[in-house]
Amino acid sequence: MSKNGLNGKSGRLDVRKTYKMLIGGAFVRSESGRALDVEAPGGKWLGHVCRASRKDFRNAVVAARKAAAGWASTTAYLKGQILYRAAEMMEGRSSSLCEVLQSVGHSSAAAKSEVSQSIDLLVYYAGWADKYLQIFGSVNPVSSPYFNFSVTEPMGVVAYVAGEKRPLLDLVSGIAPIVVSGNSVITLSTGRSAVAAMELGEVLATSDIPHGVINLLCGLREELVGQMSSHMDVNALVVQGGDEKEHAASREACALNLKRYFLKSQGSNCDEDPYRIMDTVEIKTTWHPVGG
């Protein structure tokens, strides 16, 4: 708790942190100038986080789209290394990540466990980068003289609404399977989990992930989900949490540009699952003649 509070012992006034969102590699406040209060479970005031506007989301889409082609064409080996590097950075900052989780109500043990699970999960998906295509692609035995094969390609720009139960892990378990295939992502964290997301932003900004590939917003779910599902330049929406009414409205709005919509299940038993990578890829099949 020392980080943002007064530390009487040293007699020195702490330098508090301003939590900013990550868009296109830059730390920004909401263009709307709005902020939200974050309180610990007991009601203790922790600080402000940004309250992203719909315009912030649109800006993030522009940044994500700009980054998408480059990230998609980054080799699988390099994508794997970059995600692994991000895990290294998380490991290095695990104590501050733990601190943040504790500040929003986790016990010390729970915070440690969530941070190490998050790091391990990132390593897990980093390892899939140059393998999932071998599992999920195919060479197809067509009955004509053609070489026919199916590969996966990233969809492009994916929006992800993270749940609040596991502030860090819900975010990482959403981001990793989306970006490992070459998509760029815009995430929304809400409530208290926003501070963990913004902390993660500082980790990601110092890793090798290209600017714009991972964009982290925080704000109000009810304010932003509508824009995320109706935006015409977003290819897919992955959602955790939320109620049936929201899901129905989102699925309907996604029909505007036939955005792919996925409800992500929660819980540690489904975090490690390469089939999650398949949610946000397309299958492309190519025919090539075989002949002299």
Binding site: S138, S144, L258, K284, W287, H288
Partner: protein, 488 residues
Amino acid sequence: MTESKISSKGSDWGYAPAPESADHFKLKEQYGLFLGGKFVPAGSGKRFATINPANEKTLAQVADAGEKDVDRAVKAARLAYDKVWRKMSGRERGKYLYRIARIIQERARELAVVESMDGGKPIRESRDVDIPLAAAHFFYHAGWADKLGYAFPGKSVGPIGVAGQIIPWNFPLLMVAWKVAPALACGNTVVLKPAETTPLTALLFSEICQEAGLPDGVFNCITGAGSTGAALVRHPGLDKVAFTGSTDVGKAIQKSLAGKATKLTLELGGKAANIIFEDAAIDQAVEGIINGIFFNQGHVCCAGSRLLVQESVEEEVVEKLKARMEHLIVGDPLDKNTDIGAINSKAQCERIQDYLKVGQEEGAELFQTKCAVPDKGYWIRPSFFTKVAQSHRIVQEEIFGPVLAIQSFRTLNEALEKANNTPYGLSGGVWTDKGAKIFKVTRGIKAGVIWANTFNKFDPASPFGGYKESGYGREGGRHGLRPYVELS
């Protein structure tokens, strides 16, 4: 019978009519709905006529299913799912599919002729493409039924339940196969709604299910128009909806299912670019362009309806294309020499004619061949537009007819930019002699199926389906099983 003639310059050489006979089978005067293994009339007693678009004669009367019939069909499918199909071993399910594949092969001639009569497509295509591929789809998926665990490593695989499937009129029996074979192989039961202009082969397929001894209710077929389809999609008893058709209807279906847990896959429209580079084998490419846009009268969602040709060979390609198009024989679908048959319906014919008008009003230049077309029936001469802009409706919208929009490009990147600049992403084509260029272009096109130095090839082992507004989900291959299984 139409007199088909080659109308090329000064030639009197014509093809004598070579009609396929239609006397080896007899259509019934009327067909009921196929519910729970039996043919029954619609509850309302209503029927509608299905006609031959080549001569506007009525072929048969079919039942017009209403909401109550839909309900009966879904209940029959549910009963069959609970009592029989979900409990049956994959091996036994597969054996039924093998039987169906074999009977399609045995009745191939009849199915091909009926397909051409009901839908207007040339007999050469229904005989050589539609029917053999439909049989192949069942044969392919039959073998998956007891091997699904290998298709999804690390997961346990189960069926979803009752699937409602709505299919279009461009490949009537083939679409039955694309939809029904994977659904049944994975252990689901089906209520199928064929298109109102082409219900006959789906009804013959229902007979085939009886002949195969398929347990009652595993496959049900309800005929009717859009309102029947809407009633099916609305039905709360479905676990899964699969739709092939227009993007507008696909979007409406997604909206109507928004609040439900029903799973959905959509195979929708397309506006594929066929990209010809200067180093392509030009004569071969011209054949590819012809096949890309004039196959099945252009009633193909993955048709190569946009030609992107490199500027340096544009003139040559367009001239050769014109000459080749003048040799296309338009006429009687049952004639074995026919290249382009009848437009499927009056409504579609008017829609295409409307686009021909729109294209000209937008400033594009129309070319149509000079061939004669029959007086009766619905026909459109092979057509293309030049001087088109990327923003033109004839470039952005799916026409679903024998109408090609031609644009030129200078660089590979410009070709890709234009190819990807529509809301669709179903298919694409590239013609060049350079292997590296092929892979650069096939990677760059945002579409689900890419043909290199060929076009419009299909196979049950080859996944098919779109990016972007061409829908989601795949049909065919291992990937085509995914929409019909529950993984845990």
